[in-house]
């Protein structure tokens, strides 16, 4: 029921937002195509076989992207995941070296991640006054601290450990056709996570909490329970990330996973998920993740200063968050001129 004068303004953001989101994902697909064209044009070795061969190293992070998307939609943030990857990887390597069979090591890896995530969730839901940034800042330092202690007391010291028995990992690093197993896992986890967020009541509750926590609470949503579940889920996915990272590195050290948390958040934000909560969806993040992965591989093959990628990621991030406010400023200007 849009009236003529006053109504129009209040009705506008919804329509504008929807079309913007749609066009943002469209733009992301275009950028992905563009990155691949760039890759082909700057490097003669940039073809599908080579890209898929180099992919496993970067794929692991995408697992966490899905979990982080949930957390960001809730309006929270979790900066401890990089350290959690380090801890899970370390525990796995050390337990495997201590004689645990591969199956048990995998379980231990996932379990460590899950427990870490549950710890985050527990503190975040028990002390709701604390910003989650602070909670996870504390646990970030703790997780990496535990890993450092483990290296010294349980491992050989020196802050690094490599897996002695790599048979199981080799199995995980295998390929089906040209595609690595982790690729299928990412797609599978992605489909599940995207569907749950977009199509189930659980997913819609996340958006409700992210837009207005108090309103969601009074509407009968168990806010704290859902937050706890999301943190645990992200922890579990960190464990999964650590596992697939091991299939590429076969070892762990004190700097494993450093900076992952920011890269994962960057993927989400670049994919259109707002850190203020309640906005965006995982499909955008999924495409954005592949944009970053393809860009990395392309620049890596060309032997361009690999750190240039940092500048490009940063620029993409800032431009992507500036686009909405620039476009709204432009349309406001247009209105002013018309009036």
């Amino acid at each position: 029921m849009a009236g003529k004068s006053g109504r129009e303004i209040s009705a506008m953001p919804e329509g504008g937002l929807k079309s913007k989101l749609l066009s943002w994902e469209g733009a992301l697909v275009l950028i992905l195509v563009g990155v691949n064209i760039l890759g082909v044009s700057i490097s003669p070795n940039y073809n599908i076989t080579n890209v898929l061969r180099e992919m496993p190293r970067y794929l692991a992070e995408i697992f966490m992207m899905f979990g982080m998307g949930y957390i960001l939609v809730l309006g929270d943030i979790d900066i401890s995941v990089g350290a959690l990857v380090c801890l899970s990887g370390t525990v796995t390597v050390l337990s495997s070296n201590a004689g645990a069979p591969f199956f048990a090591a995998v379980l231990i890896c996932l379990l460590t991640g899950l427990i870490g995530g549950m710890l985050n969730g527990f503190i975040a839901t028990r002390f709701t006054e604390l910003p989650t940034m602070i909670v996870t800042l504390g646990t970030q330092i703790i997780f990496r601290g535990i890993a450092e202690v483990l290296f010294e007391t349980w491992g050989n010291g020196g802050g690094t450990a490599s897996m002695a028995d790599t048979k199981g990992l080799m199995l995980l690093a295998k390929k089906i056709g040209p595609f690595p197993i982790s690729f299928f896992c990412v797609i599978l986890v992605g489909i599940v996570m995207i569907t749950v967020l977009a199509k189930t009541t659980f997913g819609r509750k996340l958006y409700a909490i992210g837009s207005n926590k108090t309103a969601a609470y009074y509407a009968g949503i168990e806010v704290e329970k859902i937050r706890f579940i999301c943190y645990s889920l992200l922890g579990l996915l960190s464990g999964l990330c650590a596992l697939f990272l091991l299939t590429a590195t076969f070892g762990s050290n004190t700097t494993t996973g450093q900076g992952f948390e920011m890269e994962v958040i960057a993927m989400c934000v670049f994919g259109g998920i707002a850190t203020t909560g309640g906005k965006g969806n995982l499909i955008g993040g999924f495409i954005a993740a592949f944009i970053i992965v393809c860009l990395r591989i392309a620049l890596g093959q060309r032997n361009i200063n690999t750190q240039l990628i940092l500048v490009i990621i940063g620029l993409m991030l800032i431009i992507s968050v500036l686009v909405p406010s620039i476009s709204s400023a432009l349309s406001a200007n247009k209105k002013k001129k018309a009036a």
Binding site: P131, L137, I141, M262, L308, I309, L310, L315
Partner: protein, 326 residues
């Protein structure tokens, strides 16, 4: 009137409790290992943590406006790398000019942050995350992955070597200026006003955008200065310097009682918070706890402090409620 006195009591008690923690810490460590309290050792504690102390001041301002800046160590690396390269290629060896150039680079980086956050209405963490990548990447790109070694910065590193007064003077001046600014100048009070209630500040005629920009610019300036100091103190410049240390700075502020939601925090508290973090990392090896326990203990202390704060806050509120009901 009464409410204000409670608020004052709270903010005072935060610093008082920090002082008590500090004294207990010093006593315990001092009894186990008396050499900890020697002049040389205390001097080294400050020298090793000059960068955290310095940048915590800027982070205080940023967090007072309910923002956050995680690009500081990248700005530090970019500024530090720039002046390292200036010396490596024998362009400039004047210490004073190098400081000015580093500070200006930091100022520029901070200004970009501020203008995008204030005018573009971008969430501070996202904007500064973008620049965290950009400046760190730029540090690698301009240096082409090379270092500036101790030889390159030979004369310059005298300024910050162990025993030289330079870093201490900068720290003292910075803390004096900020203590004065945050308490007694209009600008300082404006920062508090913007942080406690942005809308109220805007309505009462404060230019919020300009205050925000200024805050991030100051943060950038301090990060740039820290970059120059870092090159001087560690006598080298590498693109990955101080990687990940921005969390230490934020942790120092959080321990010092700066609220992430803005509007609450003080220079004295920030100083005490940074000092506690500095002492923990220095004291552990001296009381026979191996250094690899450092991060674990630091993390536990950070969480313990913030959780304790919440718990005391809750008890106080409950007591207030009880008093009102009676």
């Amino acid at each position: 009137m009464k409410k204000k006195s409670i608020g004052q009591f709270l903010s005072e008690s935060r610093e008082a409790s920090l002082v008590i923690v500090l004294i207990i810490l010093l006593l315990v460590v001092g009894i186990i290992n008396p050499s900890f309290l020697s002049f040389t050792n205390i001097r080294q504690i400050f020298l090793n943590n000059t960068l955290t102390f310095l940048m915590a001041l800027g982070m205080l301002c940023v967090m007072l406006t309910a923002g956050i800046d995680i690009s500081i160590t990248s700005t530090l690396a970019f500024a530090g790398m720039s002046i390292g390269l200036l010396q490596k290629y024998d362009v400039l060896h004047n210490t004073f000019l190098l400081f000015v150039i580093g500070a200006l680079i930091g100022l520029f980086c901070g200004f970009l942050n501020g203008i995008i956050i204030a005018k573009g209405h971008v969430a501070p963490i996202i904007c500064t995350m973008g620049f965290m990548y950009i400046w760190r990447g730029m540090a690698y790109v301009i240096s082409n992955n090379n270092w500036a070694s101790g030889m390159d910065v030979a004369g310059f590193s005298d300024f910050g070597k162990d025993g030289a007064p330079g870093p201490y003077i900068i720290l003292i001046i910075a803390y004096a200026v900020f203590f004065f600014m945050m308490k007694w100048t209009r600008f300082g009070r404006r920062i508090y006003a913007v942080g406690s209630n942005t809308e109220a500040a805007r309505v009462s005629g404060i230019n919020v955008d300009r205050t925000l920009t200024a805050v991030y610019t100051i943060m950038g300036l301090l990060a740039g200065l820290a970059g120059v100091l870092s090159v001087s103190i560690y006598a080298s410049a590498q693109p990955n310097m101080q990687y990940g240390k921005e969390m230490d700075v934020i942790a120092a502020c959080v321990i010092g009682g700066v609220a992430m939601s803005g509007g609450r925090g003080s220079v004295a508290g920030t100083f005490l918070g940074a000092l506690i973090i500095a002492i923990i990392s220095k004291a552990l090896p001296m009381v026979n706890i191996p250094n690899f326990w450092q991060n674990l203990i630091k993390g536990v202390i950070i969480l313990a402090v913030v959780i304790l704060n919440v718990v005391t806050q809750r008890t106080i509120e409950r007591q207030n409620l009880l008093r009102r009901e009676m």
